[in-house]
């Protein structure tokens, strides 16, 4: 597409080179770079400039032009070398990752196939869709959705109505919490502030006497929510439920980030921003699939604190940890990391599905170590308990 759309550069460069560039741009796009026509045009300018004489100046030029984020920046050299210097040509650039889309769909197809072969039909019957069976089995989306439902345990919330309700709740939660007063404005409570610009404008019609005073209104600021979801084996009865909740929150909030952890931590906001719920949840369950080996809450938090916290947490962030607190790591580490996290964010909410169980006491060592740093320790085993969270977050 790029090859045909590019206008010839001001200084004419060879057609071969232009085609090479178009191919390079395509490879970059395949690798997840956001490259538009304007960039391609500028790249042609660079190729026609003295900077193109040596690879040592061409590479940094194109890197500055085509990269938009740090991860682009880090991957660029590899792709560049593969394309222009012929180190392994295209196969190498494919290996460099980020063709995640391709890999994902391959995996999904594989899963869907497996599903069709083994457990597909009975599962569908169970959920009362037997009538549409013949029609549904031909569509790959139908199959993969069935797979998502099957692979993530839905014992507690399998009813489509309930799923819809979870989403509606997350939306409602989001709406009510989205806007909150900036602290700065609240602190300045003695005396509202006059909006001089508007006041003077109004005064003109009164011959310059400011009769109508216009006041500045406090600016509403969104609360930022960061959710860390434990996707370990001991939580699997709830994971699917929370993944849906996560999707609702990330979808509705302008500023929400989601992470999933079991033995390690994965940043999943991007996958969750998919409008297609089924696909997002499907993708996430793939990520959440552990290799087994227990939950490392402490280590996951350490990763979070070290690599993500500075970027995703600000002074009006509520961190919500969803976990049962069964940690196979050292409780001391968990305590330490919780303490660090506490210092950075505004509130820590720990949702533990097990509080809902009868006679539950936070006896797990990890849970005990973390508790002193938690602002709200609340149950989260059903919709009601999540709804109870809403007024609390509103007060933050």
């Amino acid at each position: 597409m790029a090859a045909t759309a590019i206008k010839p550069a001001p200084d004419t460069i060879g057609a071969t080179l232009r085609h090479r560039l178009a191919g390079f741009v395509r490879t970059l796009r395949d690798n997840g770079f956001a490259v538009g026509l304007a960039e391609t045009r500028d790249a042609l300018k660079i190729l026609a400039s003295p900077a193109a004489m040596r690879a040592s100046s061409l590479k940094p030029s194109l890197r500055s032009l085509f990269s938009a984020t740090r991860s682009d920046w880090q991957r660029f050299d590899e792709i560049f070398d593969a394309w222009w210097l012929g180190h392994g040509i295209r196969s190498a650039s494919r290996i460099s990752g980020a063709t995640a889309k391709g890999r994902q769909s391959a995996r999904r197809a594989a899963l869907a196939g497996e599903n069709k072969a083994s457990l597909g039909p009975p599962d569908r019957v169970e959920r009362g869709e037997g009538d549409t069976d013949a029609e549904g089995s031909g569509r790959s989306t139908g199959a993969s959705r069935a797979e998502a439902l099957r692979s993530t345990d839905l014992r507690h919330i399998a009813d489509p109505d309930e799923i819809a309700e979870t989403h509606a709740l997350a939306e409602r939660l989001a709406r009510s919490m989205r806007a909150r007063l900036v602290r700065r404005q609240e602190a300045r409570r003695h005396g509202r502030r006059l909006d001089l610009r508007r006041t003077i404008h109004r005064s003109i019609s009164h011959g310059g006497t400011p009769i109508d005073l216009v006041w500045r209104r406090a600016k509403q600021k969104p609360l930022r929510i960061v959710i860390l979801l434990d996707a370990s084996g001991s939580m699997n009865m709830y994971t699917a439920f929370f993944v849906r909740f996560l999707h609702g929150v990330v979808d509705a909030f302008q500023e929400a980030e989601a992470f999933v952890f079991h033995t390690r931590l994965a940043h999943v906001s991007r996958s969750l921003r998919d409008r297609d719920v089924a696909r997002a949840v499907d993708r996430l369950s793939l990520m959440a699939e552990g290799i087994g080996g227990g939950t490392r809450i402490g280590e996951s938090l350490a990763t979070f604190n070290r690599w993500h916290a500075a970027r995703v947490i600000n002074s009006r962030t509520a961190v919500i940890i969803v976990s049962d607190g069964y940690d196979t790591g050292e409780p001391e580490q968990l305590g330490l990391e919780m303490q660090r996290l506490r210092r950075r964010c505004r509130r820590i909410v720990w949702l533990n599905p097990m509080i809902g169980w009868k006679d539950y006491a936070p006896e797990a060592r990890g849970m005990k170590a973390a508790l002193p740093f938690v602002d709200l320790f609340a149950p989260a085993h059903n919709l009601e308990s999540l709804a109870a969270l809403e007024p609390y977050l509103k007060r933050i």
């Binding site: 030029s61 500055s64 302008q254």
Partner: protein
């Protein structure tokens, strides 16, 4: 006048900024493609310094817009001088409302803020939009508009078009994700902590009187400290502070007085926790490795 990359490198060095070659390339591209440059990197790697040095390289004025939460167009673009307007209204009481309006919304009562200032200069200035990630999304969208058209409209006055296109440098610490549109609009450069050699050269440039061996040792020591698990990783400014302190104490070799090293580490480690982490033993061990 268009400078080549090597000229830019040289001039940056003259201005006291030791740049890596890729950065010089990016600065050259800024002029060549007339695009803003977005600099990302951890706090303290010298992003703001790049803009200051760039202004010196081109002999241009530096106009700085520091972004913060709640920054709005009034503070970034222009504001009317209300006090004078009120006075004028009082002084001209009884005049026709239209004439009065025209009078008090004239150039005379306009207060330039950084963005407006940047596009009204005759010689293209360097416009530094610092920590753009701290500003709100709405402001970012507005900024995008200004950066693509280089014209602003003031309802009471009309549209003002840039007399000279400023060189724009944006910096971000990554406290918030910037919009894709803004990222696309800009050239991108990731500024990393300088490697040991370059940091040593920075020390030598900024503190001309210092011992070359000491500068190298300090640079190595800082590099080692940065590898530790710290809450606040020391930036280049901290390095310079520390080097200046050590030089001020008359040290020529880090090994000579480990006690002094430990005591002066307060220049580098800025939180209680980090201070506790890098204890005496660890300091000695790091010293043994680098000196």
């Amino acid at each position: 006048m268009s400078l080549t990359r090597d000229q830019i490198s040289e001039k940056l060095a003259e201005a006291g900024y030791i740049a890596d070659r890729d950065l010089a390339m990016a600065l050259w591209l800024m002029d060549f493609l007339k695009r803003p440059l977005l600099l990302e990197g951890e706090a303290g790697v010298g992003k703001t310094e790049v803009a200051k040095a760039l202004a010196k390289v081109h002999g241009a004025e530096l106009i700085r817009l520091q972004c913060y939460e709640g920054l709005d167009q009034n503070a970034a673009l222009y504001e009317w001088n209300y006090q004078r307007q009120l006075l004028a209204i009082k002084a001209r009481e009884g005049e026709d409302a239209d004439t009065l309006e025209e009078h008090i919304f004239s150039e005379k009562y306009l207060l330039e803020r950084p963005l407006l200032a940047a596009i009204r200069r005759l010689d293209p200035p360097v416009l530094l939009i610092d920590e753009v990630d701290r500003a709100d999304e709405e402001f970012e969208a507005f900024l995008l508009e200004v950066l693509s058209d280089f014209q602003v409209s003031i309802p009471e006055l009309g549209t003002i078009t840039a007399t000279a296109i400023p060189r724009v440098v944006l910096t971000s610490n990554g406290t918030r994700e910037l919009s894709d549109a803004l990222r696309r609009r800009c050239l991108y450069h990731y500024v990393d902590f300088p490697e040991v050699d370059r940091e040593a050269r920075i020390i030598l440039t900024r503190l001309p009187g210092i011992d070359a061996t000491l500068a190298l040792q300090v640079a190595r020591m800082i590099a080692a400290i940065r590898k530790e698990d710290l809450r606040k990783v020391p930036g280049v400014a901290e390095t310079l502070d520390w080097a200046a302190t050590l030089a001020g104490l008359g040290l020529h070799d880090l090994r000579a007085e480990p006690e002094a090293i430990y005591d002066t580490l307060i220049c580098v480690l800025k939180t209680h926790e980090d201070r506790a982490n890098i204890g005496r033993e660890l300091t000695d061990r790091l010293l043994g490795k680098v000196a």
